[in-house]
């Protein structure tokens, strides 16, 4: 029989044991009965993708009687911050959406946390449906560098950046839609002269760095992008394109194209200053399109960044199948459904950019322009990805640096030196 003292010790040992087990996170909540597909994604329910994936879940359950889709809505940040830990445990879902690029999906594939989808991609014809530039983010080599190697993810939509403009404000101030870069700067000069800050911007998030990267891209070519993003060559941040980007950006701050106060604003504030009719121009991604369709209370239009063959863009986020997925076949079936014409057309008509839609099935004229522009861009090999992709943590380096350019606390040359240092530290050694 246990004495009181021993009972206390025993209880303490049991308690400690359970705490230790709990802290190791080895609880098993997955099921491998072939009756459940555990799915995580982070698209908002009213976004084009959210609408499309919801329909895909319905379709999947109809086609797989007796199988239930257990969908968990996560935030982008949640998945981004915890993916390596979750995928390393038995809590991994069967299928999840994940950010594309070397520092994200590439890192996970290198560590062996993702399933090689090469066989399925060929068997199910996903490789034929995706254009080469969209496919770049699906493939990762043994070092986790995108563009070649095995399939580790499937993007079912695409995205690119374009200029959104407020037609009512352009009319009010007598400015015509710019067709060339010179016309764009002339238009901005007119707005500044009339006391209007022309560009919506967010220095505390991605918008500012995307302006700067676009300026650099307008002086760059594919080999420049390949060197920067795929490490096929040396990246010199003091070259003509980067120098032009940084100096022009700093110059635009001085000229008043961006407001100085945009340094502390995030992407939401940038979007709101456009939708509220304050800023006449916003250069940002196609991901805003659906929202602007519902939120903008004025006449608006879009055009591609003038006089530039390249722009920011890529295949959308990826469906990845975790190595520990217990229902891989169901996961492949679900990906297949999201690639079907029916779901792709729905995505296109909801304001997204589909990758395998039926051109004639897109009925909304605004969506048609958006998709046609993307197809032209994709055909001309014009997708240059995003500036923060090449090395982990580069997003923060870019945010911090462009904030300093906006506030004038750093010169373009020093800014570029900072980028060089962070890039060289993070990029794989040549």
């Amino acid at each position: 029989m246990l004495t009181a003292r021993r009972r206390v010790v025993a209880a303490a040992v049991v308690l400690t044991g359970s705490l230790l087990v709990a802290s190791c996170g080895d609880s098993d909540s997955g099921s491998s009965d072939g009756k459940t597909l555990r799915l995580w994604h982070y698209e908002g329910p009213t976004s084009a993708m959210g609408i499309a994936w919801k329909e895909a879940i319905k379709e999947f359950e109809t086609k797989h009687p007796g199988v239930k889709v257990e969908f968990e809505e996560k935030s982008f940040d949640q998945i981004q911050k915890t993916a390596p830990m979750v995928l390393n445990s038995s809590d991994a879902p069967d299928l999840m959406e994940y950010n594309k690029g070397n520092a994200t999906a590439g890192l996970l594939s290198k560590q062996g946390l993702l399933t090689d989808l090469t066989e399925e991609a060929t068997k199910r014809g996903w490789d034929k449906k995706l254009s080469p530039s969209v496919r770049t983010t699906s493939l990762y080599d043994t070092n986790g560098v995108m563009g070649s190697g095995k399939w580790y993810g499937v993007p079912n939509y695409a995205e690119y950046t374009l200029v959104y403009y407020n037609k009512d404000l352009f009319k009010k101030y007598g400015v015509a839609e710019p067709k060339t870069f010179a016309e764009l700067t002339a238009a901005m000069d007119t707005f500044v002269a009339k006391g209007v800050t022309p560009l919506a911007n967010g220095g505390a998030a991605y918008p500012a760095q995307q302006y700067l990267y676009q300026l650099a891209l307008s002086k760059a070519d594919r080999s420049w992008v390949d060197a920067y993003q795929l490490y096929k060559g040396k990246t010199d941040f003091h070259d003509a394109a980067w120098t032009y980007g940084a100096e022009t950006f700093a110059d635009w701050v001085k000229k008043g194209y961006f407001s100085k106060s945009s340094s502390g604003q995030n992407e939401e504030a940038a979007g709101v200053s456009f939708t509220s009719g304050k800023a006449p121009i916003l250069f940002s991604g196609s991901w805003w399109y659906g929202r602007f369709k519902t939120d903008n209370k004025f006449d608006w239009g879009t055009f591609r960044w003038p006089d530039s063959k390249l722009t920011l863009g890529s295949g959308g986020n990826l469906w990845v199948v975790p190595k520990g997925s217990k229902n891989k076949d169901l996961a492949y079936d679900f990906i297949d459904i999201t690639m079907s014409k029916k779901i792709q057309n729905l995505l296109g008509n909801s304001g997204g950019v589909p990758v395998a839609a039926d051109a004639s099935a897109i009925t909304d004229p605004q969506s048609k322009t958006l998709i046609d522009d993307f197809n032209t861009l994709s055909k001309n090999d014009g997708l240059a990805f995003y500036p923060d992709w090449p090395v982990p943590g580069f997003y923060d380096v870019l945010v911090s640096g462009t904030q300093k350019l906006i506030t004038g606390s750093e010169k373009p040359d020093d800014y570029l030196s900072d980028l060089q240092e962070a890039y060289d530290k993070g990029a794989p050694k040549q």
Binding site: V9, T16, P84, T407
Partner: protein, 314 residues
């Protein structure tokens, strides 16, 4: 119940006859065991693991590679880390020094003046008002303050404009010269209630006769505050200073919500720096080194605080 007590008493009596009596320390030690083991599992073990990781080069997945002191050597030369550390010292001023000083004066004023002239209920209501920011989750307070301090349509700038001080309008969180002070201002607001409540509780136990005697001797409010209030509640002051300095060194939520360490790193603090190194840059080994250094510093500060407190204990 009675039977159990008697049986236990008999058992104790029996064992007393055979062995020397056990002191209360021995029997109470048993009750400390579960807590000690839980402390081992959730504090000591993770800390040891974190320290181990800080000696490795690791991206968070795969196997960590032993790199010895490399992370610490890098940390010594990392200007961003030292800048974040300097900001931490500013946070100690905002979250410990100023709230303690202000809290003291306010507590004495509420206790001594408001309480006496307007009644203890009024003093209690005012105390609760000052304490309110402590109850609010920092994320909520941070979001509200980011609205107040927004550059274009923020209410602070709108207020300045409305009262004819338009030229004082600023980009409070976006200007690198101002952002840290703005965050400090918010933190003073958040923190003030805590010292105030502790000091008011401390003042309750000061013998009123001391004040009465001083008053009879003609001591004014300031002299009474300086010679009676301050020395009498010295233990509370040490507790508050230690507690708030630790909170300042590990401040994270406010920086995350208000500025994300920006603009251009102007408000970065070690805990946020460690967080981005861990999760954004996936340099887990380096991030672990930062948090180990931070933990050691906080531990050292706590020990100093405890020693100071012991000295003041009667």
């Amino acid at each position: 119940m009675t039977v159990t007590v008697e049986r236990n008493a008999r058992a104790v009596g029996k064992s007393n006859a055979q062995k020397p009596p056990r002191g209360p320390r021995d029997s109470y030690a048993l009750f400390l065991l579960p807590g000690a083991l839980a402390f081992l599992a959730v504090i000591v073990l993770p800390f040891v693991m974190n320290t181990y990781v800080s000696f490795t080069d690791w991206q968070g997945v795969g196997s960590p590679e032993w790199s010895g002191l490399a992370n610490y050597r890098e940390l010594m030369d990392d200007s961003e880390f030292w800048a974040s550390f300097r900001h931490s010292l500013f946070m100690v001023v905002a979250m410990a020094a100023i709230p303690t000083a202000l809290g003291l004066v306010l507590a004495a004023a509420l206790f001594d003046y408001v309480g006496k002239h307007f009644g203890s209920r009024t003093a209690a209501v005012l105390r609760a008002c000052f304490y309110l920011p402590q109850v609010l989750p920092i994320a909520v307070a941070g979001i509200v303050w980011s609205w107040i301090l927004a550059p274009d349509d923020g209410s602070l700038n709108a207020l300045l404009k409305a009262i004819g001080l338009g030229s004082w309008q600023q980009d409070w969180l976006g200007d690198p010269d101002l952002a840290l002070y703005s965050v400090m201002g918010v933190m003073i607001w958040v923190q003030l209630g805590f010292p105030l409540v502790i000091f008011m509780a401390g003042l309750q136990r000061v013998d009123p006769q001391l004040y009465e005697a001083a008053e009879l001797d003609g001591a004014g409010w300031w002299r009474r505050f300086w010679h009676i209030t301050l020395p009498q509640i010295r233990p509370e002051i040490y507790v508050v200073l230690t507690w708030c300095s630790i909170a300042a060194l590990k401040v994270f939520g406010a920086v995350y919500v208000l500025t994300k360490g920006g603009p251009g790193g102007a408000t970065d603090v070690p805990s946020y720096f460690s967080f981005t190194t861990f999760f954004e840059k996936t340099q887990v080994g380096y991030g672990a080194a930062i948090s180990t250094v931070l933990t050691v510093l906080i531990l050292a500060l706590s020990l100093i605080g405890l020693r100071l407190q012991e000295r003041t204990d009667p």
